[in-house]
Symmetry: C2
Subunit: 451 residues, 2 copies
């Protein structure tokens, strides 16, 4: 966000606070009505709990409901909704697209979900969507797409579109089904606009570039939609029946969420942590990994302890230890980051993927030689140092960078192969291993050749 | 990619290789013609240089050109194009959307660009697009959008759409301009379909939710399009003249590219490195940061060296050093990852952003106390250890985790404030600092209280 828009945001927050404090609805409504729901959502997120409730109770339902849908999940828009009167809840939920309503209500506890859904007259579609796992195709799809039959004409289809346009979420693709609701093909809105009115849908019918099964993981759905540059994609069940559709805007949200998950996992933060969540949430999400890391690092400590006599005799080793371990950790993290993204983005055969390990081995060989050489030269410049000390440090550094680089590629590929997220805590394991191996190499070589 | 589709890919590669080896065009064309350009691109990426060229020379131009556009940049589709005959180059480039052509040709050296553009009869639009910086709105926009005037009717607009549909890249939004090409508003394709034929565009005209200036960074464009769930967005120059439009599919690509950049930078890999690039490229992109890290770690080594007498007297300190430093590094990396994503995704005022530092301070206080306590208990279980040793380790660990966590939030916020990417090499600096500070605290306390 630019400095100007931050300034505008600050000003809008003060203004809405001032208007809310006056306790008359009209000026508030006049102020928020020209806003886009996303901008109103942003504004709401900067208000305190009481202001949020007051504001969203007086804003007209179409705008208020969209603003709730656009709020960040971690700002708990669902709980805000749950605090309102049953009649207002019904009014807001009915304005929402079915997928947005399901997303919102799905964040509440089961008994709260029931209470809210009981206030909404036509809650059947939302209840059905809530049955699907949150991160599956079913969990992000809408049931409000345009569905026609092959024997309809272009004109009839456009007429039906006109009638239903306001309660259809996906207007990018027209889905064509048979008598048993099985997906037969698609017609793009574009083709429909361009067709002569009497053209039969049958004659414009195209095979969909791709469809996704209702239980597919949302990340996979995102990859397919992005691969084929589709504005929306059909979702089918086991029997080929069309059950919903997913639009590009939901996919952009998925790509952002999955990336955040990857970066957090990579850095050993559990993916339940919300970016702007509570301090308690942050403590809970990170402490378990720190405990795991305490245990893994204790093994590295044992290695050092085993060589305590060596260190006592040559204390300079204690000074070099963190350099060897730290550079190994850095080189390992570099290889990890490249490999994790490579796995996330590229379609590769296993052979091609394993070739990454070979490449990283060579990278480690070369970078290790350069860095090891540099450190050896630096060490030899210290007056009174045994030249053999420089050589031991160089070999330890070189060896550790080779292992770090190779392991950084190897580890996530193995994790993915056994069906685990390649990013999970990989940095903890790689850095602990490079600590361990670096110490073994440095102290082992030193005790063999320097004492 | 699932195991099944990997199997299919492997089979398709063998089959196309077999067909290419037979040196007759028809069976090859018959095999690739039903493929989506993205799938053909995938196939091409798994062939060797000679096979790629042979294949793309015989595939019909509309499919071959799209496949080139869909190939990963790091597979060098532009160089593949440059190897073809001038007549074929012209044929392929003319089939491409202007933005895809500019992206492709923009990857070549300037003299190669000239040579290719000279083969293409109508290269003016592509030349214009090449003038904009690659990562700006101008660099990703298309000029092939639908532009009408306010006095046109819905019917006329649809007629003109029919005529030009095949050479228009953005068919999601109809842009309305005045006599001097300044953007006056938009009409969605949806509204156009739903309108009576004689309705004037003027009467359907809506203010665009957002427009972006031609020099805006592509990441910012992505945020805006995703914030407002737009399928496409207009691009204007300083005078308000409409110069192009950007569609959602380009934005999904931008989100993916920017995230890769963030993860790589976070792990101290320069963003020139391509995920499946050459080994030499990987060496070059990582070595400079390893050299920087050698220097920063040397400072940590100096701290240890300064306390060499302390270590000689109590060698167990050398074993505890990597545990204190490693956990500090891990806690710092956790705070970094959360803060970097928070900066990337949230619209926050400075005050709210700084509150992250306070939150991380508390996280460090609590997690540091737990981890410090655990390690102190573990240390006291070792027979013959002075209880004071456990207390010194605990305080060092606690202090280091507080600093790590706070710095992990503070550092990227400061980097962003001074206009640098908050992710750049932040992990190197935070882990070096936690090494340094951890050693100072541990060894300083030990020399003061244990000897």
């Amino acid at each position: 966000m630019s400095e100007t828009s931050k300034q505008e945001l600050r000003e809008a927050i003060s203004e809405i606070r001032r208007l809310l404090a006056q306790r008359t609805a009209e000026p508030v409504i006049a102020f928020v009505e020209p806003l886009h729901p996303s901008d109103l959502a942003d504004l709401v997120e900067h208000l305190d709990a009481e202001e949020r409730l007051t504001l969203l109770e007086i804003v007209p339902a179409p705008l208020a409901s969209e603003a709730l849908a656009e709020m960040e999940e971690e700002e708990h828009p669902a709980e805000l909704l749950a605090q309102m009167e049953p009649a207002r809840i019904a009014e807001l939920v009915e304005e929402l697209a079915d997928d947005d309503a399901a997303d919102l209500i799905g964040d509440l506890e089961p008994d709260e979900q029931e209470r809210i859904l009981d206030s909404v007259p036509a809650s059947e579609e939302i209840r059905e969507l809530l049955e699907y796992p949150e991160e599956s195709a079913g969990g992000i799809m809408t049931r409000e797409m345009v569905v026609v039959r092959a024997q309809d004409t272009a004109h009839e289809t456009i007429e039906s579109l006109r009638e239903h346009a306001n309660d259809r979420e996906d207007l990018y693709t027209v889905f064509v089904v048979d008598n048993r609701d099985r997906l037969k093909g698609v017609v793009t809105l574009r083709d429909l606009v361009l067709a002569a009115p009497t053209t039969l849908i049958l004659d414009m019918l195209e095979q969909p570039v791709a469809v996704v099964p209702v239980d597919m993981d949302q990340e996979e759905v995102g990859k397919i939609l992005s691969r084929y540059n589709l504005a929306s994609i059909g979702v089918v069940d086991d029997s080929g029946k069309l059950v919903g559709s997913i639009t590009f805007d939901d996919v952009i949200d998925v790509v952002e969420a999955e990336t955040t998950e990857d970066i957090l996992r990579f850095a050993s933060v559990s993916d339940e942590e919300q970016l702007r969540g509570t301090t308690l949430g942050a403590i809970r999400s990170r402490l378990p990994w720190l405990i795991v890391n305490s245990l893994t690092l204790s093994v590295a400590a044992l290695v050092v302890w085993a060589y305590r006599d060596t260190i006592e005799q040559l204390v300079m080793l204690a000074a070099v230890m963190p350099v060897v371990a730290g550079l190994g950790g850095n080189a390992g993290t570099q290889a990890l980051a490249v490999t994790i993204r490579r796995i996330a983005l590229s379609d590769e055969t296993q052979t091609e993927r394993w070739s990454a390990v070979g490449k990283e081995l060579v990278v480690g060989l070369v970078n290790g030689l350069v860095i090891g050489g540099l450190i050896a030269v630096a060490a030899s410049l210290i007056p009174g140092t045994d030249p053999a000390f420089g050589i031991v440090v160089m070999i330890a550094m070189w060896g550790n960078l080779i292992v770090a680089s190779t392991l950084g590629a190897f580890f996530p590929i193995v994790l993915e192969r056994i069906g685990t997220d390649p990013a999970v805590a990989s940095s903890i394991f790689v850095t602990t291993f490079t600590d361990l191996f670096g110490f073994l190499l440095l102290l082992g070589l030193a005790s063999a050749f320097l004492l």
